[in-house]
């Protein structure tokens, strides 16, 4: 397998979530996209996460960024140190893992190790993972962002992975959502309205 370049490094992890710092400032995997981490260096079992929060902030807790009134290009020329003092991090919810028997949409028994490398998931991986829609249920447990927004973003991202099959997949996902949202018809129509390309 071709060695992919990692896009971030895990700096915090627990049973349900991980926080990773991006290798390049402002270059985080998008909100609602899938990332993966290998459980231990070089081994195949991979943990899948879903990005639900992206934060860019100062590296030092007591220093905050301030407005300069200049474009980024100008700032890079005139205040280059700024970009060294900022970092972009993202929080990802752990949605499943892959072991020898295949993909499971349940929490892994161990969270990703600190300093593990995080990679973006390819379209093929996304397609394979999202064949089952069970992971959608856990997205409602995330409290930091409105779950509807996250669901919309996630599904929009996965539609690309399903290519020609996406209209059919969209209906399948819609039905799963309908079940999850029970009687909340207004919420369902609002979400579906915003998912449609």
């Amino acid at each position: 397998m071709m060695k992919e370049t990692h896009i971030a490094e895990v700096i915090e992890s627990n049973t349900t979530e991980m926080i990773a710092q991006c290798t390049v400032l402002h270059c985080s995997p998008p909100f609602g996209s899938f990332v993966k981490v290998n459980l231990a260096e070089g081994t195949e079992p991979a943990i899948y996460g879903l990005v639900f929060n992206v934060v860019t902030s100062s590296i030092e807790p007591n220093r905050r960024a301030m407005a300069y009134g200049k474009t980024e290009e100008e700032l890079r020329k005139e205040q280059p140190q700024i970009f060294e003092l900022l970092k972009t991090e993202f929080q990802a919810h752990l949605v499943g893992y892959r072991d020898q028997t295949g993909i499971k949409q349940i929490l892994p028994s161990q969270p990703p190790r600190i300093h593990s490398f995080v990679y973006a998931c390819s379209l093929a991986e996304v397609r394979e993972f999202t064949r089952q829609c069970d992971y959608l249920r856990t997205l409602f447990t995330i409290s930091q962002v409105p779950p509807d927004e996250l669901i919309i973003a996630t599904i929009r991202n996965t539609l690309d992975a399903h290519g020609e099959d996406s209209p059919h997949y969209l209906v399948q996902v819609g039905k799963e959502l309908s079940r999850l949202l029970r009687d909340d018809y207004d919420r369902l129509s609002s979400i579906l309205r915003r998912i449609s390309p």
């Binding site: 009687d183 909340d184 369902l188 309205r193």
Partner: protein
Amino acid sequence: MGHRPDELGIITRGSLLEGVEMKLSPGRSVEDITAGKFVVIEGEKHEFFSMITDVRLDVTNAQILSNPPSRENTLLRQVLSGTSTYTTVMLRPMLMLRRGENAPNDRVPEPVKTIPTHFATVYEADEEDVRCIFGGESQDRKYFNVGTPLDMETPVCLNLDRFVERSNGIFGKTGTGKTFLTRLVLSGLIKNEKAVNFIFDMHSEYGWGAIKETGGSKQDFVKGLKQIFGSRVAIFTLDPDSSRRRKVLADHEVLIGYDQIAVEDVIPLQDELSLHPTAMEAAYSVWAKYKNDWMEALLNWGDEDIKSLADSLGVHYESLAALYRKLRRLRNFKFLVPKTSEDLIKKIMEYMDKGTHIVLEFGRESSMLCYLLVANILTRRIHELYVNRTEEYLATQNPADKPKHLVITIEEAHKFLNPRASKQTIFGTIARELRKYYVSLLVVDQRPSGIDDEILSQIGTKIIALLNDERDIQAVLTGVSNPAGLRSVLASLDSKQQALILGHAVPMPVVIRSRDYDEQFYKEMGLLLEKEREEKIAADIEALFG
């Protein structure tokens, strides 16, 4: 039968009393589901043959009702379909069959004693199912093809043996094709030689050719029974002139003498003639004196001096006068004569003993009065003879003495079988007797609510075309267990060529599209070509007269 293709749905709930509910599978359109359709539920241990009785659209959430997705919002519609919006189909299991038995011919459907488990799969019935339940003509002569189930091509057969075990009825609103259905059934009885038929053909529709109600095709005429079955059917006519004019090959002219009319024959005419009960009393009084000549006596005296007759009898003058006035109408009937030379009944019996079926045409004498009178007179006599024959047979136990089973066909049955008349007429008696004396009725009627309930419940097999009137529907479903589902099926029948058959002659109620009554049919009934027919007639005459 584990090879079924597309599933229709899944059983979600239900009860033995009320039927089971099925959730329609996604991908099946509710518009394919028609009431009366025949389906199979594959339960754990049994297969349940069922009929669709109702269809309902449901939503899980009232919000959808108040704010349904617009026409452009196809995604939302597709998502909701089958999850938040779904179709429930009500099914009525009619028969069940133990699964796992190999030879299809050995399997005997039983009445339904239980219901399928949750989530049992439902499939459309296929040809094998229909054949298994209803039998096929190739299996046995007792099966006669009367049509096909809705959306299927397999023939549905009546079990004629069971059909003739009871009296039967053909019901339906005016114009729904009762006459065709009757012709169909009669053809079956004639072809398979299950019974001898005596048909009171009030409108001259059965014996010879009749005009099809729906014209527009080049054949506006359909063949009558005699045209199809030739000499096996004899036409008796009350109106020879009319028959001649219509070029009907009548076999016999019917004349009835006054001395053949009994008081009992007049009683059913009460309503028609608006006779007061006291008038009937008066009639009995006349008979007491004059016996068989009472009618002639009454009419003669009535012409001259009714009063003195009344006095001599000791009856009320007015009653007798009224009686005379009403009965005077009978004089108008050309077929009524003071005396006949021939014993008509004997003649009829001769034909029937040979197995020849009789159609009695009324020609232009098609008034209700005439119909009632003639039907009562003849039937009463025939029945009497049959009773004698039966008692003889019981005594000798000689198979040669066994009377041939007779089916009497009457139309406007509610005139004969309304609650009052049924107690007084021979028809009520016959209906109640079942087959004790080898006579049964085939009643054809558009107002079954007019028929006495008790009689209706004795009717073995009912063939029901479209009925609208709630009372008629209720009447026709009297005595049927759990009629609720069948009610909606009845209301949804096409106005032509569709009927619900239920009762003795079919293992389970079934909606059919009736068999076409056309050239193909004639051929199947054995109709010979013109030339062949003539030859056959010649041969028959030869055989008859030597």
